[in-house]
Symmetry: C2
Subunit: 214 residues, 2 copies
DNA sequence: GTCAAGAAACGTACGGTGTACGTTTTTCCT
DNA sequence: AGGAAAAACGTACACCGTACGTTTCTTGAC
């Protein structure tokens, strides 16, 4: 009786992901993860090489939460839906976007990359556009989310307050920024901005294929 | 005689930037910075609030290296040139792109943001497109550079070697990725890829303005 | 020149971190 | 049952950020 569930790589990664979700990745500590699982620190090292490798594993767990893209539909719709899924997952795990480009891809991420490349290839854009399009699309997914989260975190809960403080203090020196900040306060619909910018890129890829063809 | 130059916030930030350029931001330590300047650790705290604040200052030093955009020329050309300047600076300080979205903007960055917004506003794209275009452009500059550096660092010096190892081991399981990797090995011109994707975005912004106007 | 006062450099100390290493306990297969 | 492999544990160490108190240096008024 009473003997708790044994440790495993998967249980460690899950606990670490939960901890990072809640307290941020900077506060993540091997001891904290061990505490959360009610084990001692060094036991983690039987299942995980070291902290860096654990972080890589954590990122791959998160990538594994992204649903694979649909197998039918217009390529732009499929890509939009897939990107939206990735965006949602990265927004749920706010630390993950910042790790994305620092870590080597794990198995889930390899599958994810493959699925993006498949969409682009089957869209028959030509090899050159597929090649560049892949970089453009992944850049957008990670970069946009990163920026979005960055704004959230530096502005904190009190966006309104911070913004009006900025407007009063420095609005005169930075008129264009003042306008932009007013935009953030106003009735802009941020919900579709991710899709809007991705749309620009996808349309551009489409068009540059046509140009090449014509 | 012999009394070395006194410490100052600026000297500290410069030393820290140099250290991070050379050894990476993860290896950056208050003691290491102090050693580089031949002072003791705690003396740094007379000029810098703490490590986080120092990192914010370091990023702002880097942003200060970006030349301000030209005051004449077509808005797309000006934006392309300005983005290229930012890209070059962020490529020189490989740790900086990763910090960009984590830190509150310092004075140099405020000026930089203002200059981007000025270009877009004077292009007469309409307030909605300026608003979204700003996010799209900054996302591209930081996100693309981040991704580029990420590739470099995880692949290391031996791109060729790693790539052919991947092709042999896993090429069969990931056919689309195999093709992509072959692209990386082949004769793609990476030099203009940053500009190419930015071009897609700028053209898209231009076009969505026309649509709104028409 | 001197002398007070503030700034800057310094030394010490503390709690926390990743993890190497050796030991003990548990698990599992014959 | 017994022995080997795996897993959990405890101890230890070097390094980290930084609070706090002390000493030294700089500077301006007389």
């Amino acid at each position: 009786m009473g003997s708790r569930q044994p440790l495993s790589r998967s249980r460690i990664l899950d606990a670490a992901v939960s901890f990072a979700d809640e307290h941020g990745v900077d506060a993540l500590t091997m001891r904290k993860v061990a505490d959360a699982l009610d084990f001692r620190v060094m036991s983690l090292y039987n299942h995980v090489a070291n902290k860096q490798e654990m972080l890589s594993g954590m990122l791959d767990v998160v990538v594994g939460e992204i649903d694979p893209p649909a197998t039918e539909g217009s390529w732009k719709d499929v890509m939009q839906a897939s990107a939206a899924a990735a965006h949602a997952v990265l927004s749920r795990h706010k630390w993950a976007a910042g790790e994305w480009s620092k870590r080597p891809p794990g198995p889930h991420r390899l599958r994810y990359i493959e699925s993006i490349l498949r969409i682009l290839t089957e869209a028959e854009l030509g090899p050159e556009v597929v090649y560049r399009g892949y970089h453009a699309v992944t850049m957008h997914i990670v970069g946009f989310t990163l920026q979005e989260i960055g704004y959230e975190e530096t502005l904190g809960d009190n966006l309104e307050e911070m913004a009006s403080a900025f407007l009063e203090e420095m609005g005169a020196d930075y008129p264009y920024m003042a306008e932009h900040v007013r935009g953030h306060l106003g009735d802009h619909d941020h919900g579709d901005e991710f899709a809007f910018v991705l749309g620009l890129i996808l349309d551009g890829l489409d068009r540059s294929t046509c140009k090449t063809r014509g």
